[in-house]
Every structure is written in C-alpha cells, then in structure tokens.
Symmetry: C2
Subunit: 693 residues, 2 copies
C-alpha cells in the first residue's frame, strides 16, 4: 500500500522563485537531528523495519505479544542499553540513550512506552535508587529482559500525588524482611505496564515503616523495593500477590497494563533499593538526605528521564503528523480557484492558518527538546550535577513535557481533520497516533499538575529575587517603583492613550518592531514576569491566613498560576528556537527559519493578545499588526512548507501513510488528465448553463 521511496514524494506545489530564499533541506535535517544525529539515524533504521511497526486494528492480545517480541529483538540485535554502566555492558550514555528511545514512537508508541517501562523505569529504578548489590543482583536480568518488570508507583487512589500512596512496607527486624501490603482498594498499584501479563518482578513504591531498637515505629515516606511478583515458569502470581488486567485502553494497547495488590508479601531487607535510605538489620533507618521532603523529591528526580523522553517522543509524533498532512495538502486538490483549476489544499488561507503555526511550534519544540536532552545528559553524566542543576532540569522537563504532549495532541488532531475522510482511515496513521499519544498528557505527571509545579518554582524564584532585593534598600525602592509604574500602566488610560498615539503613524513600522527578535523576547519575557508577579501579589496575604483560607486563596489563583507556567514554557521554547536559529549557516535556510521563529513568537502573542492589551503591553494598533504580520508570514512560508517537513528527516517507511506516498498526486494527475483529454477530444458534454445560453 505504501510506496517506500526514500523520501516523501516531492510536491507539485509552488516552488520558491529565484528571488525567494531556499531551504537547504539536508543541512537543516542534520541540524534538527542534533548532537545525537548518528544514534537517531540508527534508531530510525529500526523503525523503518516493518517488524517494528504498529499494525492498526491488531487485536489487543496479539499486539501485546508482538511488542514484547519487539523488545526482545531490540535487546538482542540493537544498541538499547546505552544508559547503563559500562561495567554491565552499557555505555553510560544517558542523553544518547534517550535520543534513541524517543525515536521508537515512530514505529509504534506502544513499543516506545513498553521499552520505557522496562529500561527507563524498572531497570532505571534499580540503577538509580539501588546500590552496588542491587546492580549486581538484579540489573543484568532487567537489562536483558530475562526479568520483565513493572514499575509499581501509581495507585488507583493516587496518581500524580505519589507522596500520599497507601502501600506500606513495614520492616520486621525479627526476620529481617519488609512486609509489602496494600491495605485498601485505592492502594492497589494501577496502570502498570508489564503488570497484567509479562512482569515477573516489580519495583514497588511504598511507605517505609521501621523502628530503631526501642524506638517508635516511624514512617519514613516513600521508598522503592524490588519485589518478585510472578513465577517465571508458570506465569502465576506468587503467594500474596494478586492483580487485574486494566483491559482495553484508548491507545497503547501493545502494553499489558494492569493492577497489582499485595497481602503482607515478605521480601528480604536487602530488597530495599537503598541509595537514598537504608534500614540496618536492627531496624535503624538512615539516609544521606536528612529532610524527608528533599529525599522524596531527590528519589523522584532520578526518574526525570521519563518526562524527558515523552517530550522528545511527542515532538517526533508531531513531526510525523505534519509531514503526512502537509504532503497531502500539497497534492490534494479541492474546489476551484480563480482559473477554474482545482486548488491544492495548502494554497487555501484557512488551511495555512491551521497547519503552519503548528509547524512553527514543532520547530520550537524540537530545539527546546534538544536543549532539555543536553541538560539531562549534563546532570546524569555527572558533568553538571548540582542540586540547582537537577532542580532546573526537573522544572524544564515538567514545562516542556506538558507543552509538547498537548501540542502533539492538538497537532495530530488538526492534521487528521485537515486530511478529511482520508485522515480518519487507520492506514493513514493519524487516528492511531492520537489514540496512542492521548495518555502522554496525563501519565508521568499530569500536565496540569506539572504546570503547577513549574508555577510554584517560578513563584519561589520570584520570592527569592524579592528577598535578594530586600537586602539592598536602594534596589528595592527601584523595584517597588517599577511595580507601581506597572500597576499604573494597567489602569491609567492616559498612559495607554499616549502609547496608542505613538502607534497611529506607520503600521509597517509596527510590524517591523514585531519582527524584531528583541521585541518578541521582551514581550514574551515580560509576560512571564508580570504573570508571576501578579500571582505572587495575589497570594501574598496567604502567609497571614489560616491553612484553610490560604489553601482557598491559592485555589482561587490556581488557573493564573498554570497560565504563568504555560507562558514560561512558551518563552523557553522561543529562546531555544532563537538559539537554534543562530546556528544556521545557510542564508536561505536562516531567512526561512527566521520566518518560522517569528510565526511561532507572534502566534504565542496572538493567543494571549488580550493579556497584552489589558496590561498595557500592546496598544490596539500594534495588536492589530500581530495578526496581519502572521497573515504575511503564512504567505511567505507557504512555498517552503514541504521543505520544512522534509527536513524532519522521516521517509515514507516512517510516515507509512498512503496519502503522503504520492498516491494522491497520481490520482489528481489522472483526473486532470482525463478532464483535459475529454475537453481536447471534443467529447465533453456541454454544461447545462452553457447549453441554454
């Protein structure tokens, strides 16, 4: 069904004229592949192999077995253990490993996520939360899939709020064992990949309870334990362990998600993964991190790679969807234009409006992800592993994972609709991609919860900068004065009127300003700062309130906090795009990518245009030029759209959508040739309206 030509079929769309800049597609592709270009290429060779590709409509049971078999082949034939220590056969290459894994989404998102469960969560928890004995004892089996494992963190009753899980692990000094127990239905572990069928062990997160000799029983909070769950020969649950299959899901049905419960299941003391907290034989607890809160976040922080790889995978899914939809829109004709020829979809103004801003955002997300991957590798390689860098990494991962996974859903859905009925056929990939990507928005941290974490971090930074200022009275005065001026700006019509008068002159100059990198930066940066400051001011009274009232105040401003975090994520993407742009050598490519970056920046501003107007950042006159400049950018970018999706570097064997294979162009050419031949032969019937004339 699919033409497996090396490249997406070239489009008959308007080619850039000589006066136009041209994109150096090969060079841009290389730049987008980033620092792990070679590893990505190898991974793309894997997903070009039909054995690693999703078959739409495959029954769940069969799909699960297929993906397990794919995992075994990955382990046997491909370089999938790079993240693990060299002494165990890995390469200590954290960033490169993720770059490869996030490419698997192109073969089958179930494959990416099942690989993520096995190596990124189960084995990684042993690696990062365990110590040498655990590595020696459990890691090789986990790495080589001799022990498929579940990552038993989430519970039916607790998802994003991991700190409150109900499963307990109480130490019994008598037998030197931990007793793993799920005391009520809500404490059952849930949604775990490998739990329904394939897993023979699990890393189980539970509240660690122990007593030092003569001391009280103390709850030391969430820790991880290595727990065998099934007899590998029979596949039966071990005594005390039980579970359920989560059944059919909205997508990712190649993964056997399920539930686990534990009825006083005993594991040896040594099964506590004890890098951040250990229990001596006599029950004495000790930890290198004194604060239980900081210990908890440090432990969770070691698992940040899940979010990093979801960010990358979501960006890749967006690329595939856009490559399909843009290629189709360059070939599919519908409705006549001025000259009675039918027009390709992408020549329609509204079609450009729907697809090109998503394309621009996908570029931004690509550059931002590359920086996230670098930050991740810095921390995990130890090159730059300070608490501040870890915290920055976690904030960045939370901001970008939530942005890019929502972006992928919006992009895939818009592409699906832009392809009409064809887009609804499973063979054209888009519906399957949406179904599979759906849960990316809520797993590994619900996006809304993640944005709140980002928002709280921004509030913290703001408070820190305020108290730094308070150490310097002079600066504080200036700071307050600025805030007051700012507040005045919001409310005083006179100030705005003056501004507005300044805009009356030349609309083109105004566009010129918006095109300016510094102006975009100022508008996007100022928005984050002002939104954070507004929330901070609104929450300031909380300190003097009762916990109840403080919580209510916070709740009343939750939406604004989320919006501030969203603005921050967008600014981060814009900055990354701008840095990426600075590295482009070819002048034509740089010109086109500058338009793409401007389209991204201006689209962000347009989306939040009311904020800019209400807060006196843009006058009505300038705000109007935002939209008209976007309209101009769409026209400029339209001839380059195919190049821009081709530069993503996915070939037909990755896209695998008959509608982007060139089949549509052939159909259109055949239809037009038929009509032309008919007219030329004189055999065409006369249209009724002419017959009457």
């Amino acid at each position: 069904m699919t033409t497996t030509a090396a490249r997406p079929a070239p489009s008959p769309a308007p080619a850039p004229t000589d006066a136009e800049p041209r994109v150096d597609v090969a060079a841009l592709e290389e730049q987008l592949l980033g620092r792990y270009a070679q590893l990505r290429r190898e991974a793309r060779a894997i997903t070009a192999d039909p054995d690693f590709q999703k078959i739409e409509g495959m029954p769940v049971a069969e799909h699960r077995e297929r993906v397990l078999a794919q995992l075994r082949r990955l382990e046997a034939d491909h370089d999938v253990l790079r993240a693990f220590p060299a002494r165990l056969g890995g390469a200590d290459d954290h960033g490169g490993s993720l770059a490869r894994f996030e490419e698997l989404v192109v073969g089958d998102p179930s494959l990416q996520i099942k690989a993520g469960v096995q190596w990124g969560l189960f084995a990684s928890a042993i690696l990062h939360l365990g110590t040498a004995w655990h590595h020696d004892t459990f890691l090789a089996d986990a790495m080589h899939l001799r022990v498929p494992g579940a990552f038993a963190m989430t519970e039916t009753g607790h998802g994003s709020d991991v700190a409150s899980i109900g499963t307990t692990a109480e130490y019994d000094a008598q037998t030197q064992e931990f007793v793993i127990h799920t005391p009520f239905r809500g404490a059952w572990k849930d949604y775990l990949g490998n739990a329904a069928l394939h897993g023979t062990a699990a890393v189980v997160f539970a509240q660690l309870v122990t007593a030092a000799p003569g001391g009280p029983r103390v709850d030391h909070g969430v820790h991880a334990f290595y727990v065998p769950i099934r007899d590998p020969r029979t596949g039966e649950f071990l005594p005390g362990v039980g579970g359920e299959d989560d059944g059919v899901k909205g997508g990712l049905n190649g993964i056997d998600n399920g539930r686990l419960h534990f009825d006083h299941v005993r594991v040896p003391r040594t099964h506590l993964l004890d890098r951040y907290g250990s229990v001596a034989p006599d029950g004495t607890y000790s930890s290198p991190i004194a604060s239980p809160g900081r210990r908890f976040f440090t432990m969770l922080g070691t698992l940040v790679q899940g979010r990093v790889s979801l960010d990358g995978a979501a960006v890749n899914a967006s690329k595939v969807a856009l490559a399909i939809a843009v290629t189709y829109a360059n070939q599919r004709r519908q409705f006549t234009g001025g000259d009675a020829e039918e027009v390709v979809l992408l020549d329609r103004g509204q079609h450009q409006r729907r697809l090109l801003p998503l394309l621009a955002e996908t570029y931004a997300a690509t550059f931002a992800h590359e920086e996230l991957l670098a930050a991740f590798d810095d921390v995990f390689s130890g090159r730059g592993d300070t608490p501040e860098q870890r915290e920055d990494l976690e904030t960045l991962a939370a901001a970008l994972k939530s942005s890019s996974t929502w972006h992928a859903l919006r992009t895939v859905q818009t592409c699906r609709e832009a392809c009409g009925g064809q887009g609804f056929l499973a063979e054209n990939r888009l519906t399957g991609l949406h179904a599979d990507m759906d849960v990316y928005a809520t797993f590994e941290g619900d996006n809304t919860v993640l944005l709140q974490l980002v928002g709280k971090r921004l509030l913290g930074d703001y408070a820190a900068s305020l108290s730094a200022l308070q150490r310097d009275r002079g600066d504080l005065a200036r700071f307050v004065a600025e805030r007051v001026a700012d507040a005045a700006l919001h409310r005083t019509p006179l100030v705005r009127a003056v501004q507005t008068l300044g805009d009356l002159g030349d609309a083109r100059r105004s566009v010129g300003q918006l095109r300016d990198e510094a102006t975009q930066r100022e508008l996007l940066t100022d928005r984050v700062e002002a939104k954070v400051a507004q929330v901070a001011q609104a929450l300031a009274p909380a300190r003097k309130l009762s916990p109840d009232k403080a919580a209510a105040l916070f709740n009343a401003h939750q939406h604004e906090l989320v919006e501030a975090a969203r603005a921050h994520a967008e600014r981060v993407q814009w900055e990354a795009f701008t840095r990426g742009l600075a590295q482009v050598q070819d002048p034509g490519t740089r010109q086109v990518l500058t338009w793409v970056r401007d389209l991204f920046g201006l689209s962000l501003i347009e989306r939040d245009l009311a904020w800019y107007l209400i807060n006196g950042r843009l006058s009505a006159g300038r705000a109007r030029t935002v939209t008209s400049y976007i309209d101009r950018l769409l026209v400029r970018l339209r001839p380059h759209a195919q190049d821009l999706v081709d530069a993503f570097g996915y070939r037909q064997e990755h896209l695998r959508a008959p509608i982007s294979s060139g089949a549509e162009r052939e159909r259109q050419d055949e239809a037009r040739a038929h009509q032309r031949a008919l007219r030329a032969s004189g055999a065409a019937p006369v249209p009724e309206k002419h017959a009457k004339g």
Copy 2:
C-alpha cells in the same frame, strides 16, 4: 462492572446551602428533553439495553455484524420508521424521528451512523429525491432493511465539493438506460457505509449527461440514481461493479465503510430519482427548477437531516462525557487542602475552569439543537416550507453542526484528561467516544467548509441589507455615518480613552453590566455584524478584479470569514439558551441556569477578548472584569455541577463508566476510613518529620 442503579451515584460534594438556589433537577431534565421528550425516553430505553451498547475492543469484523444485527432488531422491535410516509407505515414525523436517532449515539455511535446511512441517507434519498414510483418500488425494502444500501455521494477525489464529482451517468436513448461510470480512480465512491460488506444497492450520485433528440450532449449536473450493487444471495458484486474495504478506521468500526467503482453499469431510465430532474425516453431533460445551481442546492438541501442529527448526537456525546467527568470529579480526591483532608477534584480552581465552561456550552448547544430540530420539522412537515425557510434551516444546520461536533471533541478530550489514567481506560467510555466522534467534524460537510458556507450567507445578507439601504438615501447616509463612526472607534484613542475613563469607577458596576442580558447580547451581536462588515469591506474590491485576483483576495480573508461564521454560530447558541432560560419556571433553577448562561456568554467574550479590545468594544478595565466575573461564576456554579449533569437525564446504564458508578467514592471512603481507624487505634507510625521533632 457497572452499577446499574437508576441514577448516577449522588455525590458527597458540597451541597448548596439553604441560602443558595437549588436546581429542580427533574423539571430541568424534562425541559431539556424538549418537545420530543417521550420519543427520547423511548430511545433511551433502547440504549439502556446491553444488546444495543458498544463493546470496546471488539474486533472490527464482529463489531460490524453486531451493529447490522442491532439495526435489524431496531427495525423489527422499535419505532424507527417515523420519518417515512404514513401510507408506507411511517408517521411523517421528521423531527421526532431525528430526536430518536440522535439518542442512539449513547448506545454506540456506530449504531447511530449505520442507522443514519440506511434510513437517513439511503432510504431518505429515495424518499426525497425520488417520486411515487421509486417510493412504491424501492422504499419498503430500504425501510425494512431487506435492502441494506449505500449512499454513494462522496468520492476519493471529491468530498465536500459534491458539485465536482467525477462519476457520470450518461443516458442511452437506444436502450433507455443510464450508464453509470467512474472514469478514473479519484471518481471512485469512498467512505460509504454499507459499501464494504452489507449493501446490496446504492443511491449513486453522478453527473447526468443526456441529449434531447438532435441536440448536443448536455451535462445537467449531479443527480441521484438507484443502482443495485451486490447479488443479495451470494454477496458478490454485480457485473461492472467493484469495490474495496476502507479497512480499520479511527472509530465507528461497527460500520463497513468502503469504496465502489462502476464500469459502464447500466440501470433502467426509471432508476433516476427524478423529483428535481427527469429524462424522457427520448433523452429530453426537464426539471421543475430552471437554474442548475439552485437545483443542485435544493437536492442537497433535502439531505440536511444528516447535519441536524449529527448536531444532536454531538450534544448528547458531550452530555455523557460531562456526566462521567463531573461525577468522578465530585468523588475522586487528590492532594490535601488546607485541613490535610484530600480534596475532591472539582473543588480545584483549575478543574472548574476546565469543565464548567464546557458544561455551559453544552447547555447552550442543547437549547440551540432543540430549535434546529423545530426548524427542521417545520420545513419537512411542510408547515413552513418556503425557499427562505429552507435556506435558513441549512445555514443553521451548518453553523450548529460545526460548532457542536468540535465542541464534543474538545469536551470529550478534556473530560478524558480530567479523569487521568482512569479516563484512558476504554471501560470508562471517554476514549471510545472521542475516537467515534472524531469524524463528525469532517463528514456530512467538513466543519471548515460549512463555516465558509455560513460566512458566505452572512456576506450575502449583509450585501442585501446594504442594497436595501441604497434604495433609501436617507438611511444610507445614516448607515455610512455609523460605519464611519465605527471605523473611528477602532482607530481613535480619544474615543477609547473616554470609554476607559468611564470604567475607572466601580469594577462591580462593570461586572453588573456584563451580567446584564442586553449587554451580552449587544457584545455578541455586534461582534458578528462588525466581523461580517469587515470581511465585506475587505472583499469589496473583488468585483473589479480578474477571477484569479478575486479568488486570491477571498483566500486572503478566508480565515476572517470562518471566524465571522463562528461568531454567528456562537451568537445563535447564546440566543437559544436565553430563550430556553425564559421558559424556566422554578426560581432556583432559573437563577442557576442564568449563571450557566452568563458563563457561556462571558466565556465566548473571553475567548475573543482581544477582538473586543482592538475594536474598541471593551476597555481594558471592562475586559479585566470579564475574567473576574467568570471566576466568580465558577465558584457559584460549582455546588450545582452535579445537578446540572444529572439533569441531562442519563442514567448509569447510559454512562456505563465504572468511574462514575460510585466505585470511586467507595474506594475513597474506604481509604479514609482506614486512615482514620489507624489514627484512632494509635497503631499509625509516626511520620519521620515528627519523630525528629
């Protein structure tokens, strides 16, 4: 798995206090059921029967057979032929028939659409496009499913542009037959329900070509033909007919969509469905409608019921999704609030922000659909069947179908995400609803294309009102003066400054104004009028341009035209809501519904706030109060959210989502009881941070 209690489990959420208004749920339910309450109730009894309910994850082949069997049972046991003439066993009840069909979506959207294909398209085309002989010859078999039929309009190469289809039906006076032919691949009929498997006949749309004796061969445009396609005994295609299965789709897999092609297939002259155009034995063409364009639109107009029923079905799907998500959000607890108790999701500000505006829009869409159904019934019953009323009906259907189907996708997706991991399990319905509703946005007229139709109609009305004014010089002067004043308002900061000064006083008074029905109406109406006028002015030069340049000008303003149409659709919904509100008797219900209506109106204004600011309709000060009033409304409505979804009238057997069955509340209660008991017994371990203190 599902508790089939008569009602969604009551929620433990904050009940309205005595001072608060209360919703009379039963009365509101009755009002929402509308004029076809009894028919809807009967249809809901059908979808409460497990035999008519979708089984998620069922293999495609099995699902197709199941839905066909459901159709046969519908025909045998239930009142599904109301739309057909009484003399053939129907009830000539067009509106009532649709009200019933659109309820089937709650059982299985595939069932709704397969029923729509058979009765709403295939049999309806025979009814509305055919004449007495066709009714006598074909209709009974179609009605009683002895002939499952395809509606062969769409082609691979032509979807929304039906006028340009490539299939031809050339009359052969020699044999008095039409020759049906698909001359190229793009002319194959595509995406047709019943085409892959079950259909034994089709209504085929083709360009009718015939010659009067001695005259030239004339193309009379698109007409419909009754064409047998399969041998009902063997299921094999008849000679000259061929086809393909469309295979797995993103949803609606209970329907056997497929392609059909025709190689000079001959049907008798009488098989032309000839209500709007007939061919005499000698080849002479005649039609009661002289203009080929108007004839075409009249023929298509008879099939408007498809769009009407999709509007209703989309509203119903939104109701189901919201009933599930709001019920869950009232039971599910996560993260502690001020008092260390975990808080139900719907008490979170952001959760209210995500769900309640969708709930308000669903109410608006419900009232608007009820009016659409009435308009449809007026036209089709003949009570109000003028060309103007038909045109109004078609415009209304296009506007509402596009609004409500997109709304359903947004609502279902937001509900799915708001339910976290549970929302991703197929058993909780939301992912399946999204998958099935997806294509509603592009079939029966792509939403974007429909909005353009609406936009063109608005432009036409605007032009008509202008030329009416031109007949009266005095009025014209006034009109122009108003336009000029309007233009000045856009550009002159002084006018805005005055406005803004007026707002400086009392923010509460400003909110008071926004709460005012007349203010909302003015803001929403003015927006449509101004947007239409702006597009009209921008397009005015087109008359003097070459067709190419005129097309380019139109294309450059396509996005604005779509936005004007969207604003119109929203205003229509708001007006319908307001009329519905006026009929509420119970004071408490009226108060709460007024807040819901205000939330809808203000949400519309907030979404387009930048437009109001740029165009001088709202000052920054008033714009700010839009959001703060929305925040207030969310707090007011929160205690009534459960009542508002309960009033949709769907019971557990319709929702069928374990998470809205009360199971979640039981789990939460069990967990809290466990923790309380533990604390009370003194057996709870000491949290580490206290142990250290």
